[in-house]
Amino acid sequence: MVRTYALLAWTWTRAAMAYRASFAIMVVLGVCLTAADVAVILVIFSHTTALAGFTRDEVLFLYGSAGLPFALCDLFVSNVDRVSQHIKAGTLDAMLIRPVSTWLQLAADRFTPTRAGRVLQAAGVLGYALAVLDLDARRLWMLPVMVVTGAVIFASIWTLGGAVQFLLTDAPEVINSFTYGGGQLTQYPLSVYGRDLVRGVTYVVPLAFVNWQPALYVLDRDDPFGTPGFVRFLGPAAAAVLALLAALAWRQGIRHYRSTGS
């Protein structure tokens, strides 16, 4: 499956590389676009040394550790939320006659290699934050776990967004508030947000486990909302549950499409 995806993505990459100058410009612009979010953080911290109890470098750490899985998903999986476009254009039928899962085809369709710039940008910010923060080396094992869990969570949200479009073909933009909204939310410490919102993103849509809860462990800080210590390690479990839900929703969506037609 991974091999099929990689080969498909490579075909799109080759086609994009035929326009070298355009390719390079788009990579640079992609980096600039996401760097704008970093610029906002820097502007905010030009007026204060701490935001909701977190320093600038800690916020950059949060930004990078959420931004990296988000950018990875944006690169590899985000096209899954174009279900509604494909249904309207009739191209979903063309995918159903191929011997490959529709999810894979949708994810690989119009693979945009220029988004890789954003991955590098997020990794760069994360690297900077790790370098300047004085972190306990024994806690750093959580870092790769964070990135993987984060990627699974974002990918699941994107998949759920796509699955919903089998029913709500006319309003696909609603999904953006969960996918890109989730990306925006996780850039800052959750102590910035209200209690109800934080509860929502901990127990309903587990965005808190993308970077907040694991980061509390890595930074060795207490949760301002008072969740007990073991919650820091629930990330993989939350991601697994969400992924299962997303897979079921997707299958249901395809079944719905095939039993009602377009």
Partner: protein, 298 residues
């Protein structure tokens, strides 16, 4: 004998005859004169409104997304204002209101770009049909865009404000004079935004790949219009420069008028100046496009 007047003759044009018929200098002058009637543009505004009112689902979905982002950004500003109250001359409530007002502007001012069908028409060549109409392309498109903005102001502008009011509480302009000022500045903001987007769209004519320009425009507009963070927060001279740029006229300026932190007159003048400058550039660009498309057939 003088030519007889036909009953359906347009009184704006001279009668046909040997001195005014085809081939004469008079005829050439008439056919080159542009049709500039107010009722035409009023109709185009209405048409633009009606065209976009068919996409209710998309507009409401956009309103939902804008509201969600408004809530997220508001929390961040609240956290900042907790450590620095009265930063940049705003208090907490004003800052939160600023947040939702700029989110409300996303729809009408199209701060994420788009809203014009020009790039597609340029790519397919249909732009040639638009250019031979007896009305300036830029004014025509502006009229339709104003209709679109009016519709989106209602459907994507009002909901985030309501959400902001419900979740946090927002400030509201005092008095009818200020409300009129807000309306004038919002309209001016739409015009500036249109003029910028129009220029970007026309650039498609000269570039093989328009995505780069679109992303560049997106970057400049989102960062410099005040949508991501209030422009007064930009430090020092950078802040002053940024507030003088056209993108500030799109969102920051009308937002400040709404909040009462800026006077109506000078703000309107600032917006009008940029609108005039960009529209003038647009007119030059249109002439260049006409030359390229209609005369050269490119």
């Amino acid at each position: 004998m003088p030519p007889r007047r036909r009953p359906d003759h347009n009184p704006g044009l001279p009668l046909a005859g040997p001195r005014t018929g085809p081939g004469t200098a008079c005829h050439r002058a008439i056919t080159l004169r542009r049709c500039v009637s107010f009722s035409l543009y009023a109709r185009l505004v209405r048409y633009g409104f009606r065209k976009h009112s068919t996409y209710v689902g998309a507009a409401l979905a956009g309103a939902f997304t804008n509201s969600v982002f408004g809530v997220l950004r508001a929390y961040i500003l609240i956290a900042l204002w907790q450590v620095r109250p009265n930063l940049a001359g705003y208090d907490v409530t004003t800052a939160v209101t600023f947040c939702f007002v700029t989110q409300a502007f996303i729809g009408p001012m199209q701060l994420f770009g788009g809203g014009l069908t020009l790039p597609e028409r340029i790519r397919t060549g249909d732009i040639a049909l638009d250019l031979v109409r007896p009305a300036p392309l830029q004014l025509w498109t502006l009229a339709e865009d104003l209709g679109r903005a009016a519709y989106l102001l209602l459907l994507r502008g009002v909901p985030p404000m309501l959400v902001g009011a419900a979740v946090f509480g927002i400030t509201v302009p005092q008095g009818p004079a200020r409300w009129l000022g807000v309306l004038a500045c919002v309209t001016a903001g739409v015009v500036v935004s249109f003029a910028w987007r129009y220029l970007i769209c026309l650039s498609v004519c000269w570039l093989a790949d328009d995505r780069g320009v679109m992303v560049c425009s997106l970057l400049l507009t989102t960062l410099l219009s005040g949508m991501m963070v209030p422009l007064p927060l930009f430090p020092g001279t950078l802040g002053e420069v940024v507030r003088a740029l056209p993108w500030a006229a799109m969102a920051q300026a009308p937002a400040d008028v709404y909040l009462g932190t800026a006077p109506i007159g000078p703000t309107l003048a600032f917006q009008a100046m940029w609108a005039a400058a960009l529209l003038a550039l647009g007119a030059l660009a249109t002439r260049a496009v006409r030359h390229r498309v209609v005369i050269q057939g490119g």
